[in-house]
Symmetry: C2
Subunit: 321 residues, 2 copies
């Protein structure tokens, strides 16, 4: 089994996109051996810079991601793109044709695109996104762009794992308030006012500048507010300059990398330990009866969780030590 994984990893090292795609799928599905494989991938990773692109729906994030990717490719960077898609089981999330727009970058040399449904990720969305980033990183991608469709908490938790967070707005006040309400303001590295040919663009710039001023108090960071028209490419070169500049500066942010690593351990801990204990109970056929007892108020979920932990401990008793 492990030879198979090692084979994939060797091919990833050589930059094989096919191997990357297969490895991501297998890790997403938690196929046996994934944990050991990811240990190796972790050691191979750590060089890539991660960019999060978020903002209100309709702000043009997909088009902007496309255009920035093209610009970065022209500047000789290799790129990985992760499209986080809050798909519904019914609509498949393809309603607005985001995937369609994405195909343009798919075909660029040195660009690898992967989309990720926000539902059904076995290890949780956070963990799954980090896995994919690490695999792309290990494969030698210089910059990895995570593009989210919405501005929900799950999406924010994902983009927070990035080195640079781009918040995309459009002229008009609504988006500004939305961004603040969802807690994006304080995590933004760069504000982009896209569709800058629309009316009210300068007012939006002023509003965001004012909010940044209010929110961050005596400013220790200087957050750029840039105007783009993603469809024509206007302003994208300047945005790319600002992005690369910020990514360089992020090299110094030691505290922040430590914080991110802590979150990574904690997320992994939550998902994997729970998955293990739950799976054990399921295998033993205990779940259904327990659930019935809880509903009947004969038992409660709190003591069930305690018991699950205890069963884990009991299982590894004396013989093991």
């Amino acid at each position: 089994m492990f030879n198979d994984w090692q084979n994939l990893i060797d091919n990833i090292k050589k930059g094989s996109e096919r191997a990357m795609a297969r490895m991501i799928s297998r890790v997403e599905n938690r196929e046996p051996g994934w944990l050991d494989a990811m240990k190796i991938i972790h050691k191979m990773s750590g060089k890539a810079k991660i960019v999060g692109v978020t903002g209100a729906p309709g702000a043009g994030k997909s088009t902007l991601t496309n255009t920035i990717t093209r610009e970065l490719v022209n500047r000789k960077y290799t790129i990985g793109v992760i499209a986080v898609d809050p798909s519904s089981p019914f609509t498949g999330g393809a309603l607005l044709g985001d995937r369609l727009r994405m195909t343009e970058v798919c075909n660029m040399e040195g660009v690898f695109v992967r989309s990720m449904a926000t539902r059904g990720a076995l290890g949780g969305l956070n963990v799954a996104a980090r896995d994919i980033v690490k695999i792309m990183d290990a494969a030698g991608k210089d910059i990895i762009i995570i593009e989210t469709v919405g501005v929900g908490q799950a999406e924010i938790d994902i983009v927070k794992t990035a080195d640079n967070i781009m918040v995309v707005c459009v002229p008009g006040m609504g988006d500004g308030i939305q961004a603040i309400k969802a807690g994006i303001m304080e995590i933004a590295s760069i504000f982009v006012i896209n569709k800058a040919d629309r009316e009210g663009v300068n007012r939006t710039v002023a509003e965001i500048a004012m909010m940044l001023n209010i929110c961050s108090g005596p400013s220790d960071k200087n957050i750029p507010i840039l105007k783009t028209i993603a469809t024509t490419g206007e302003g994208v070169a300047e945005l790319t300059d600002a992005l690369l500049h910020d990514l360089e500066a992020k090299d110094k942010k030691k505290d922040w990398v430590e914080e991110r690593t802590k979150e990574e351990i904690l997320n992994l801990l939550e998902k994997e330990v729970a998955r293990y204990l739950w799976g054990k109970w399921e295998k033993e056929g205990k779940i259904d009866n327990t659930v019935k007892q809880i509903i009947a108020r004969e038992r409660d979920p709190y003591s069930v969780v305690e018991e699950m932990l205890e069963s884990l401990i009991a299982e590894h008793k004396c013989e093991q030590f």
Copy 2:
């Protein structure tokens, strides 16, 4: 310590709102003894019906919650309201004055209101919401309304724990698409078109009806689409009728209650086991060094999580059994 909790529980049984408020805070803070206290609360709960109110920002959810609450109070129900507020640490989430509007119901007889920030909940948002619901339920509230501000995944995960899910829209197509994209369509029990005095209301009703038709295929459920003007109270009596009717019908949905209970165990398992293991490592002063090693690629998060689990098992070795 436990006497203190027992005292709170006794007062909650008598319907003391002060005891409820204190218990919620202490459970949210995971004060020692909370787990045993919640075991008792679980046994006391199970009678209340839970209503989730969600929808796009600006659809008038707060006002609608206010109006429905008043109507339910008039019909002699006691109500608990949980306002889920995705507050930013900077703005405190009060930007749009939702809390201000909420004060009206606060002062109604038999109504207990609690707001909940989507950030910093120790046990995770899901778990925290369930705890609060259970405490209100144990205190004898007939109906508990969970009102969310946004439509992110975290909010959806919360409203999914409700018996009835009301999705609030306003005339105009944008909201419809948003609702679908966020995966709300398939969890809705009732659609409310609020601000029904606005132009385009009938088109919106038709659009939602059409989407429901597409999404649910050969329809096994008949989801009402109702029009309201929350500010004047128009349509709210009819909405309340539909709500109470649906809550009665939900008594039969056994499978669904079982699914919800499974999720409850799993969420609790994730958060509590991780919190315990993490806390242990923190106390032993192991975190900082481990994080540095992971960043330096001398270690990896995957083997750290394995080691945490093993340390738990080792700790409880032979002596215990």
